[in-house]
Amino acid sequence: MNPVTIHDHECGIGEIPGTHTHDHGEAGQRVDLATTLAGVTLPNPVLTASGCSAAGRELAPFMDVSDLGAVVTKSVMLRPRSGRATPRMAETPSGMLNSIGLQGPGIDAFLEHDLPWLAERGARAVVSIAGGTVEEFAELARRLVGVPALVLLEVNISCPNVASRGQVFACDPLAAADVVRAVKAEANGVPVFAKLSPDVTDIVAIAQSCVDAGADGLSMINTLLGMLIDTETMRPVLAGVTGGLSGPAIRPVAVRCVWQVHAALPDVPILGMGGILTGLDALQFLLAGASAVSVGTAVFHDPSAPTRVLSELRAELTRRGVRRLSDVVGAAHREPQR
């Protein structure tokens, strides 16, 4: 009846046998964490998030990046980009704002320096691409197909569309579909995931539009547009005025987006993200319908977060006696068995 079953713990009255799953299962057999995203099998469902772990190299002191499901690299563009002026970030309650402006070396340097490092270590790379025009996205896909380590393309459509007075691709079903279609045409079998923005009236409509255009899966969510005003200077804190809100603060919005899209499109694989700090947070996304998750801002709080989340998730699933990861994917949509 209550959201939590504290009563059962407090005095044992009315206890229903088998509800105390968290006391059992320690002796349970090891859960099979392998997951499949549009035909790509990953050893486990915990990935980094684009823009939150660079291209993986800086995490090396804290983990073996090949232990992760995959490394999702920072969105790369065709040309080198300086990013915006500083300040580029601000802390907010249980979250942060960023306005980096997609600083990056451009695709040439990325292919020369970044991907090979991941390939040498046997890590899997999900490469996130970003462009200002549909053609830029297509060109990036062309350059990437076939390079070692690449297992999946994530299309960051949450960037402004040059042709459309800066409106973000992900906020317009047609523009989003155009990008997906163009990338898909170049992808040569590499699965293409469209990364959606939560800042839309109807995320299911955007999701549907991307899938209709050929997206093999969906990554969600990107940051929410937010801002902070410095009450001393009386001006916006960020040089870019607005920025993207991430971290645990947005987790309920992210879980809701995954839930809605999985409910509408149950066969479309989802890479879920937004505020994941712990293994139980990751489990929420899986239960809502994600087949894998990205750990983003948590890395700034705890550089070993991705592997910690993975081991916590393993422990939690083991405790629940879960055998295969796929058994929990989307399970919150099903009526409980008991």
Partner: protein, 282 residues
């Protein structure tokens, strides 16, 4: 360059003037510190709303005891929590981080300039410079006497110590930079090191340039991650190829050659920075 992540037990938190000297048990970090490096500390405890680590320069690091020390000024919410943390509390600390000051190839005369808690990394630097045969002159300045850190220790590790305060409550009344030209000029300084507020670093860097003395500065940019993955801590720096880039101060700094930092462009995006052209489009 990037350090390890440890649970460091708080040994003590002691007020020192306007600051707090925090001593931590962190053998893995203490083993490998060079002056100018810093640590990134998680603040707020479990279920905190504060997600980002706070960075602090390492003041001491003793491989034999396994202890490190930082000097913390209470500023906002995170440091308010930190300076009240109880002895015995385990802190999540990542370090040592960042590029340290580099010692000159040849012994010479080093001038160390520190503003406020910016003196923290200077004592170890002074010791190493002297051990390598350099003469060391320290200038320490602060707003007021209680914001001078380690004057006595400075006297132990340096050949001369000059002290300034804005309000004249200790040393000479004035800015720390007032005391620098004299040191650069007459005895012929061969290297300058500075740590403190951005305006001070810039001024010291410009003075050093006038006297043509190489100058290293430890900058303090807002950092979300401290380990090089987030790109929040950048400033425009001229590279060896003469081109400017937005460079991460957590991994490529916090120590930079002063002459390479484009001081007047910090906080803006100069058009000639690599990749700035690509920004216009979107």
């Amino acid at each position: 360059m990037t350090g390890s992540q440890v649970k460091a037990r708080v040994v003590s938190v002691e007020p020192v003037g306007a600051y707090f000297l925090i001593t931590l048990d962190a053998p893995a970090i203490a083993a490998a510190v060079e002056p100018g490096q810093f640590v990134a500390v998680a603040v707020g405890g479990p279920d905190t709303a504060m997600l980002l680590r706070r960075s602090f320069a390492l003041y001491t690091a003793d491989p034999s005891t396994g202890r490190i020390q930082i000097v913390v000024a209470e500023h906002g919410r995170g440091t308010a929590w930190l300076v009240r943390v109880g002895a015995g509390t385990p802190l999540d600390v990542v370090g040592p981080l960042g590029r340290p000051f580099t010692l000159p190839a040849e012994p010479g005369t080093a001038v160390l300039v520190a503003g406020g808690y910016g003196s923290a990394p200077m004592f170890d630097l002074a010791r190493r410079l002297r051990a390598a045969g350099s003469a060391v002159h320290i200038v320490v300045g602060a707003g007021s006497a209680d914001r001078l850190f380690g004057i006595d220790e400075a006297r132990d590790v340096a050949d001369s110590v000059a002290v300034t305060t804005d309000d004249g409550s200790a040393g000479v009344r004035g800015l720390v930079t007032d005391a620098v030209p004299a040191l650069l000029g007459s005895p012929g300084a061969t290297s300058v090191y500075a740590c403190g507020p951005m305006a001070m670093l810039r001024a010291v860097g410009e003075m050093a340039a006038v006297y043509d003395v190489p100058c290293q500065v430890a900058v303090e940019e807002s950092m979300a991650c401290g380990i090089g993955v987030c790109m929040t801590c950048v400033l425009p720096v001229v590279g060896v190829d003469g081109r400017s880039r937005m460079v991460r101060s957590c991994v490529e700094g916090p120590v930079f050659d002063a002459e390479r930092v484009r001081w007047k462009d910090v906080g803006s995006l100069p058009a000639d920075v690599v990749g700035a052209g690509a920004m216009g489009a979107h």
